[in-house]
């Protein structure tokens, strides 16, 4: 129905306006957009080649030539910070929707199905959540090796597990309502019920959850890089840069501060956006989530 898509588009527009009208939303969206633009256009904007080493000016202080100084190999820090978010953003940017999709669908299905599959799956999720997050990631990466083609599915898988729990809780509340019973009584197929009756009532919760998951995943990715399992040198990455530069922190603090600032502004931006999104959608994360 074209009228329906039009209403949807109107709703999305209104939501964006509402989002930007909130102070946290305006700051958050500005930060995220700035980072996205930077990642998109940085190859044409950077002053130097990110691989170019200059042995004469290792650990140089910020100057007119090198605004953020150089690292221990004499590479320009500004160039590497500008480029350092690209891989993280691309991989988490794809892995987050994948995680939301599979975790969300699994959670909704469990909420609708109930019974023993629900019990078993939720206990497994509980058991997984009891482990420190980075541990299972490290195990998989040691087995399958690093690189985007391993990192992306691994992150998507592990960050989807907590989503199951959120989606199931949201779906559970909707499933108990009479409009789902009405749809069942009419004889709609289960997939139809999920798509038409349940999804529209849980997308808001999942949207906010997705934004939160994204920031967690960025942190996770940076942590892997920091530990040497993420992006392979010499390609620039914030986690890797922090790891490399922390040895020289007393000599060249800018080498650590710059990538930390870049990473934290992005994560703060995402979190602020998620908060404002929750407010604009009428889901208060401080209080109980209402649908």
């Amino acid at each position: 129905m074209s009228a329906l898509t039009a209403t949807r588009r109107r709703r999305a527009g209104a939501l964006l306006r509402d989002l930007v009208a909130r102070p946290s939303g305006a700051i958050g969206v500005a930060l995220v957009v700035a980072h996205a633009l930077m990642a998109l256009f940085s190859p044409w904007l950077v002053p130097y080649d990110y691989k170019a080493m200059e042995a004469t000016i290792t650990l140089a202080e910020p100057s007119a030539a090198h605004w953020l100084g150089t690292d221990h190999l004499g590479r320009d820090v500004l160039t590497r910070v500008m480029l350092g978010g690209r891989e993280a953003l691309v991989i988490t940017g794809i892995a987050t929707p994948v995680a939301m999709l599979w975790g969300g669908l699994a959670g909704i299905w469990l909420g609708l199905r109930g019974g023993w599959p629900d019990e078993v799956a939720m206990r497994l999720v509980d058991a997984f959540l009891a482990l420190p997050g980075i541990l299972p990631l490290l195990v998989l990466i040691t087995v399958f090796g690093t690189g985007g083609e391993v990192l992306l599915p691994t992150l998507a898988f592990f960050f989807g597990i907590p989503v199951i729990r959120v989606a199931r809780a949201a779906a559970h509340e909707v499933v108990a309502r009479d409009f789902v019973a009405a749809a069942r009584a009419r004889g709609h197929a289960p997939l139809d019920i999920v798509r038409r009756e349940i999804l529209p009532n849980v997308t808001d919760t999942l949207l906010v959850e997705g934004a939160m998951r994204w920031s967690w995943m960025l942190l996770g990715f940076s942590a892997l890089s920091f530990l040497g399992f993420g992006v392979a040198p010499p390609r620039p990455d914030w986690g890797l840069m922090i790891s490399d530069a922390r040895v020289y922190m007393s000599l060249a603090p800018w080498g650590v501060i710059a990538p930390v600032l870049a990473l934290s502004t992005l994560i703060i931006g995402i979190n602020l956006t998620a908060d404002a999104l929750a407010g604009a959608l009428g889901l208060d994360r401080g209080r109980k989530a209402v649908i």
Partner: protein, 671 residues
């Protein structure tokens, strides 16, 4: 009215909230109210009329967001809103008691009843703490709870709804109040329980010479407990007067219309619906607020807001023509179902369990009795079958089983073509699914709030008829017209419609399937009486014109009487009595039917309910014998506990399941 100064005196109270645009929107508009000691005042109005706001304002409380704009609220001669918080806390629950609608939620679930009553005593009395237990027992006896010592040790969830309400009354009495505010205290209760509680409240108010302010939407309740009535409409007082006069010959056309919209037990006619809806706080008002819906309205009514005018029998009405309202005329009768119409649904020996008994229960032979058992009935084309019973009688369970949402444990469901229907909805054939449609109690829950009305109506049309595009839109519009809604509703969401409009959309969605049988689960109980009348009218129209058959579940005997061709009375999932509506409502009656009919209220000051059955709620159906054995006032002894009562035919098609012979039942039943 006594000459003494009123205890609660509200003068020209205006309450409002700040709207989106920053303007103040009024909720109460210059409302006066006064109650003396020993007097009981009923505040009547439909949802949104401001009656609860007014009652809470009498306690010096306004819900968050509301603000007092003008006027005075005096209790015992002193302004409530000027008092310091500590003093207010002492008065509330002390001299001024409140009994809320749902006391199950007002009681703390983690504390025993004894502790909660003791708390009320500690806060509001100077008695010696050592006497609290005896005092609490005494209070529970005053509210006629049997075995008060045992009740004190229980937690709220271990009590029935009626018992919880009695405990709430006892707690209000602990502060030895001068005035009681009651906010729909019996609305969620069964008729027999309600009648007992109302009796109790009346007697308490008389014995203690308390002032009572009783808020209700139910004129039947008001008729039972109140001396004086004040009718609110859209935040204004439109009528005040002695209860008898207001209920017999209301001087304001709104009250007359409200009375006409209430179905009466003794009559087999449909109530008259009142069209339109009251203006919201955000709508500009010129003239009389009721003028747009009033049959008597003239240009003068629309020009200026009328003042309160003296009317006959001590009434005062905000009307230019007080007393001119036509007296209640008979509504039109529901069309009867032709005797030769074919059967569209046959239910044979249906039994339903909510939980399948586990293997350990079956091994030990301790299988609990089924929630619903032995239910048998036929439904013919164009017939309405009313299923009546108190909460927990299994009415809704039967509907859910028929709809396939709760597969029956045994029994047969046979649609018109004679094939047996599968229990679970997933295993039914598509053509069978289309034939049976269900409408739910609360349209807020049964309509997906995220969909537009167009999308809601499109779902059955796509599923059953594969309609798309222009044909789909045209059919959806047609359906809306059938339920008397305009096409402009198509783009709205349920949240933008009123309660009655939402329920009509739910009816339209059921009609979309072009069903043979429509299952109605208490579909008017969440609606105001004026709206209820319109929905009932609509159902009857569909029945007459399209030959649809309805299974209409309700706890309201008068509604069932007005609508049904045949009635089945259920108690704890078992049929007590089935038969033509007139026969079931007349003699002879099953003792349970007699108890239900006797306890029903009517908006008539001379109607006195007869309290036959105890109002306690049984833990579950008994394993053997008559389901009504524990509460039956005319029990015959051992046979009732051991043998299932036989079905005796009092008249063709009128079955009564009781051990007492029919000629003796005639003597016990109301004439």
């Amino acid at each position: 009215m006594s000459a003494a100064a009123p205890l609660i005196d509200i003068r020209k109270l205006c309450v409002g909230f700040r709207g989106r645009a920053g303007t103040i929107l009024p909720v109460l508009h210059e409302v006066d109210l006064s109650v003396c000691r020993g007097e009981s005042l009923g505040i009547v109005g439909e949802s949104g009329s401001g009656k609860s706001t007014l009652a809470l304002a009498a306690m010096g409380y306004l819900r968050p967001g509301l603000q007092k704009l003008a006027g005075a609220v005096l209790f015992d001669g002193q302004e409530m809103f000027d008092r310091p918080a500590a003093e207010l806390a002492r008065i509330r629950g002390g001299k001024l008691g409140l009994i809320p609608q749902n006391s199950g939620q007002a009681l703390t679930p983690t504390l025993r009843i004894g502790a909660q009553i003791a708390e009320a005593l500690r806060l509001h009395c100077d008695h010696d703490p050592a006497t609290h237990r005896a005092r609490a027992c005494d209070l529970l006896e005053q509210v006629r709870l049997p075995e008060p010592e045992a009740i004190l040790r229980r937690y709220p969830h271990e009590l029935s709804g009626g018992q919880q309400q009695r405990v709430a009354i006892a707690m209000a009495l602990a502060g030895e109040p001068d005035a009681l505010l009651l906010d729909e205290p019996t609305t969620g209760l069964d008729v027999t329980t309600q009648a007992h509680i109302l009796d109790l409240l009346r007697d308490l108010a008389r014995a203690r010479s308390m002032a009572m302010v009783y808020v209700s939407h139910d004129l039947g309740v008001i008729a039972r407990v109140c001396d004086r009535v004040q009718v609110l409409y859209a935040g204004e007082t439109v009528l005040t007067g002695p209860a008898r006069a207001v209920l017999r010959a209301p001087a304001h056309p709104y009250t007359a219309a409200l009375l006409a919209a209430i179905p009466r037990l003794g009559e087999r006619t449909l109530p008259r619906a009142l069209g339109g809806r009251p203006p919201g706080p955000d709508e500009p008002r010129e003239g009389c607020a009721f003028a747009p819906r009033c049959a008597l309205a003239t240009g003068a009514c629309r020009a200026a807001r009328p003042d309160m005018a003296e009317a006959p029998d001590g009434q005062a009405a905000r009307c230019l023509f007080p007393g001119a309202a036509p007296s209640r005329d008979a509504g039109h009768a529901a069309p009867a179902c032709p005797a030769d119409s074919p059967c569209v649904l046959r239910v044979v020996d249906l039994s339903v369990r909510h939980a399948r008994p586990g293997w350990h229960m079956r091994l030990r032979g301790r299988v609990p009795p089924a929630t619903v058992a032995g239910v048998t009935f036929d439904l013919r084309r164009g017939e309405t079958l009313g299923l009546v019973g108190e909460s927990g009688s299994g009415k809704s369970t039967i509907l859910r089983a028929l709809a396939g949402l709760l597969p029956p444990a045994s029994g047969e469901i046979v649609p018109g073509d004679g094939t047996r229907l599968a229990g679970a909805v997933e295993r039914r054939r598509p053509q069978d699914l289309r034939r049976i449609q269900m409408i739910f109690q609360n349209p807020d829950a049964s309509l997906n709030p995220r969909h537009t009305i167009a999308e809601i109506l499109a779902q059955p049309l796509r599923l059953y008829f594969g309609l798309t595009g222009q044909a789909l839109a045209a059919r959806a519009e047609e359906l809306l017209a059938t339920v008397r809604l305009g096409a402009e509703c198509l783009d709205r969401r349920p949240g933008q419609l009123s309660g009655g409009e939402k329920q009509r959309v739910a009816v339209a969605r059921a009609l979309a399937a072009d069903p043979e049988v429509v299952l109605c689960d208490e579909i008017t109980s969440a609606l105001d009486v004026s709206v209820q009348a319109a929905v009932l009218d609509l159902l009857n129209d569909l029945k007459a014109r399209r030959g649809m058959a309805f299974v209409f579940v309700s706890h309201d005997l008068a509604v069932v009487r007005a609508l049904s061709d045949r009635v089945a009375v259920l108690y704890q999932g078992r049929l007590c009595e089935t038969g033509p509506a007139a026969a079931v409502h007349g003699a002879p009656s099953h003792p349970y039917t007699a108890a239900l009919l006797g306890a029903a209220l009517a908006p008539d000051p001379d109607h006195v309910p007869r309290l036959l059955a105890e109002d306690a709620v049984d833990p579950g159906p008994p394993a053997r014998g008559c389901p009504f054995q524990r509460r039956c006032p005319v029990r015959r002894g051992a046979i009732c506990e051991t043998d299932t009562p036989p079905a005796r035919e009092a008249a063709p098609g009128h079955l009564i399941r009781c051990h007492i012979p029919l000629h003796e039942l005639c003597a016990t039943a109301p004439g």
